[in-house]
Symmetry: D2
Subunit: 383 residues, 4 copies
């Protein structure tokens, strides 16, 4: 892919010690389309300055907080083309809103907010202002995931009847364990929206279902549990779902699956065949036919190509990994931002999860909470 440095961006959050700031910056760097030139990396000014130094950012664009940053960058003739928000979940809404209102394109981590209404609000503002808004559901950036979506859309496995999706992790499986700084805000009920596991990884799983199938969730029945004594938020969630075409789905997200690291796995069963995609084996997908023959397609070959082929950075057999998935999202986003600047943008260029996908995630979470509170009953989604 061409490397054309045409954009600049800033970051809110992602200071030294942040787990997620570095990967975002590395992902943007992959194709060299955008350069970081501004930031409000931390509430601690020292730390922000420190990071600015490391990244070679001019001290004048190193801000004490995101509000100053939005205002200042919006006023500069050479202000940032977009901002990347990688702060704790409960701050996403306010920060995103601030930048949107300042007229700046936004990239934000998921969950996009703590409730659906806030997400809808952000979607509304983005639309009114004509701004591009990406929510980083990273896993859907894998070329193989894109290809799976493509062939399901083409009808290769027929109509979708059943989906099995799971996202087990084991890092919060033990008593007294909060998972360090990362785990702390995930398991602390204050300002959490009342959910943990479901919002953190369950939304990825739900997003995989709607992204792969192209179908909305019609209704769901959820059981949210706390398995580790002393914890105050869900760490193990079982969800039954019905999709808009009548297909069923089972979703499991868990942080107490000892020995599992990050095992997002989705299997889509259609009237003609089955497709399997596992995040830990991202170079391949498996299509199974009515004869039970498993066809394993590998990234980098014409058999696994279609539109997703344009994201290949390495030849077949050279594993691309998680960073490439994130890089693919930024690649499409940057293309769109550039096109917008050039006046060549059209909606069909969007090949990344947008603000509506982010809102969909909160609609899912809210329905789950409602179902769980009512004793695991069916709840309709309306989004």
């Amino acid at each position: 892919m061409a490397q054309e440095l045409q954009l600049t961006y800033g970051m809110v959050g992602g200071g030294r010690g942040s787990m997620i700031g570095d990967p975002h910056r590395r992902a943007v760097m992959l194709d060299g389309q955008a350069k970081i030139v501004a930031g409000a990396f931390s509430n601690d000014g020292e730390k922000t300055a420190d990071m600015a130094d490391i990244l070679g950012i001019d001290i004048s664009r190193c801000y004490a907080n995101y509000k100053y940053m939005a205002k200042a960058e919006a006023e500069r003739p050479d202000g940032i083309d977009f901002v990347v928000v990688v702060t704790p979940n409960n701050t996403h809404y306010e920060i995103c809103k601030t930048f949107l209102e300042a007229g700046i394109n936004v990239v934000c981590d998921k969950p996009l907010a703590l409730n659906y209404a806030d997400c809808a609000d952000l979607a509304r503002i983005a639309k009114e202002k004509g701004l591009l808004f990406m929510v980083t559901y990273t896993y859907m950036g894998y070329g193989t995931a894109k290809y799976a979506r493509e062939i399901i859309a083409k009808g290769e496995i027929g109509d979708v009847r059943m989906v099995m999706v799971e996202y087990p992790q084991g890092w919060l499986a033990f008593e007294g364990q909060t998972g360090g700084k990362q785990g702390a805000w995930r398991t602390n009920p204050e300002g959490s929206g009342g959910f943990n596991c479901l919002g953190d990884i369950g939304t990825h799983a739900a997003n995989a279902v709607t992204t792969f199938t192209g179908l909305k969730i019609k209704r769901l029945l959820a059981k949210m549990e706390i398995k580790v004594p002393g914890r105050q938020l869900d760490d193990n969630d079982s969800v039954l779902m019905e999709l808009e075409n009548g297909a069923s789905a089972m979703l499991w997200s868990s942080q107490i699956a000892v020995g599992y690291d990050n095992d997002l796995r989705i299997r889509v069963f259609g009237t003609k065949g089955t497709i399997e995609w596992f995040q830990r084996e991202p170079e391949q997908i498996r299509v199974i036919d009515a004869n039970s023959t498993v066809h394993e397609h590998h990234r980098g070959h014409p058999a696994l190509a279609g539109d997703s082929a344009r994201y290949n950075r390495l030849p077949a057999g050279h594993p691309e990994g998680w960073l490439a998935a994130m890089g693919n999202l930024y690649h499409s986003y940057c293309e769109c931002v550039i096109a917008k600047k050039n006046g060549t943008f059209t909606e069909d260029m969007i090949d990344y999860p947008d603000v509506n996908k982010g809102a969909e995630g909160l609609a899912f979470v809210e329905a789950c909470i409602k179902s769980n509170k009512a004793g695991n009953v069916w709840v309709d989604l309306d989004y």
Copy 2:
């Protein structure tokens, strides 16, 4: 294992063309403990005689129906030691009852009957008569499944918190498809008890959960669906369960999973570790520790041994397969029957699924049907 031919048995059902008669006979033959000497293989006398000829059974012990057989064998001084019942599900109860009342030990395929009450009845009679009754939940006969149960009982993975179990098949995935003679009675509502997929394979999955964990199912919430247009019985079932210790479970059984043959898979998540067992890879189990290291143990080695080691017929690396699993059940059953004849039998010798496990299966099915009818609500199990 020693081969000591000390028992004789008869069979009801299992005539030429039957899928399940041959495997049962081969499984019994594996260790040579029992020899087939009588049978009522078919309602068609011609077919029964035909099979008797093939098996070298004396024509005098080749019966026109199971009632004559039970009576005649009970009266003979050298009557059969046990009967194997491999007929359609809706006939199990009457046949088993007849033999029990005639004082003959019984082996029966699952589901044991069409409702829990009938199962309980059989259990009662067997107990009163002091007879041995095995239900062939074949998959729990695998040495690796036995070993998994053993190490969970020993606490190697701590307390059980979550279980994921699934049993997908694809052979009834298509419209108009009834799966031949085998599928016909499975998808025909008449005399079915009102269930198909759930009884046929869902019970295996539920049995795997209670056998592996040693825990009873406390309550469940089930969604039974018909995915193939025109079918009258369930072919895709999603079940949420709670076990007696508070652990949760998700169960999926399906006959519309295109490309899946017979994929019973169970994963048990404990407070200290995780254990995985897949029927299609029966020579191994995986134990995962808190460090995410996967320890794959292989049959035939001291690391995968314990009591299950006595069932090894082949050295490590020589796949034993499904027949060995069934053979292991018969091996323990024959040992018990021999011991009973010798007066050395004790309850703790039983290492096979007995009539109570069979009844448990129907309790599970009945609760699922009840839950499904009531709109997928929680239903307590009382068995």
Copy 3:
């Protein structure tokens, strides 16, 4: 498959404690075509009588040694239809010869003898007498192996260019370890023919190459090594080969591969595609196309069928295992013996490794020994 008991057989070797006697008997029993009625199970008369008792063999057909057995059975009007020879390698030749000369069909374990000349001699006698002779290269009995052979013959992967085959085991990896009774005669130079690992498992690997490809070995270059101090026979062998069509092959057989149980693996690379078959995963084969898509075919489906389909005893997804592979060899052998008795036998009915395949194994071994002694130089095979 039908079960028609039409034959009787006897066994030489395979007394109590023998690893290989039981599996052979179980394999013959699988389809019930033949019944054991005679035996010379051990040099120890006590042990032979013991085994006869267990197997229900009439004491009059329980012989003190194989010579008496051959003579007596040949003279009986109801003498055995074939004999199974499962004794130590260095006794195979004499025993087989004795039975052939007595006019009795023979099944013998591999290696068939300690040198090629003896094998050729056996082949000659069998031919002259018009007797059927099977050598139990068990692994080629798997239905999937048969199917692989079939599709290679059909040209599905084009012309064979390269073969990678290996057969690593770990059971003799440690110093002082002889592997019990089984290992003792394998690592004892006396009467061994001067080879151990190569004859025991290397021949299986070489046989896999010629069976899969249908090509003879033209020449080879071998390095036979002793890796465990104190051992006197080879335990790790590396062989380069050229096949008659110019294809190359690398073969590795080893008993010092710690942690490997019985991992016969063969990969055949053709001008159009690649095929992979692993003994430890015998229910499937993988065909890889020029697009790097891996097509995994499973036993029991039309996609993996052809002539091999007739050997299926269980539906897809019910693992058949090693015993079924051995059973398949006996199935074809018994069919041929029956046909011979009925006068309907034709050569093309043979679907088992015959005496010529056994001789081929020794030609391979002798060439390896010659190459190794000469400093790992190329040696032509002429068989």
Copy 4:
């Protein structure tokens, strides 16, 4: 890992359309330690200027050829800290020599030159000048590969006895196929040094053997073949090796393995255990014990840590891929260059393949060619 931009570098080769330039630049960018500021990307001045534009390089440091570049950069007070050479194999020696003589640190692709003498020459100059020289054997940069090396060095699997290594690819499997621009210079005898597959990927395999085991190759026996009609250089190579401690090894490198993309696989068998590492599954290693239990360790956990842990950029379960492996090499190289500038460098800081490893590769190739020409005889290595 910290991102401290302290170095500048230039590149020779790697213009638009080059497969390998982009990955090198992305790998250096991963940790932000060095910035590209100069280049002689192509013999075509237009293309060089084009690439300079894309990369944001000042036109004054965009050179018509590598000689001007070496001279000019050496003279600048702010000259590049190192050069990256990614040109066709037959130009490596001259270019590297030129930069070394100009006093500039060098990174070069493998094979380092077309013969051992030239490599030794480069090693000599680098030593005399006190310069740092890295050869990008990328695969040894994977954290899991580093860890495997570490635990073998610690004796976890005992003494090494046997190594199986292979590097099959399928991209040049077909007649008339040259693999585009990339394949062209690989299969063109002119200026190739007389080798293709062996130099291109066989050297990676040989390097894996010596890197994992820490042992030198003592002697080898090679068969280099041309399998595709019309080709003039080897495309399929079989090599037997003996390591300095007496261990044996089998090496296979091939470009005609249809359906294989890039399958470097190494298995090391020791007196106490076995270790397996496959490039296509780079997040894990398998250690197998004497009990045949397979312990699969995953990147990102304490169980797979040691010194290699410092290279983790992503948490466990987030696949890092090929780019991270290359990035790890650059990370260590940049650390060393920085340390050299700061006067804190010590030899034990080197955690990348240096010029001696590069020379070792050519010693291997030359011995193979010699062995092959002499009819596949043993040839000693003296390096």
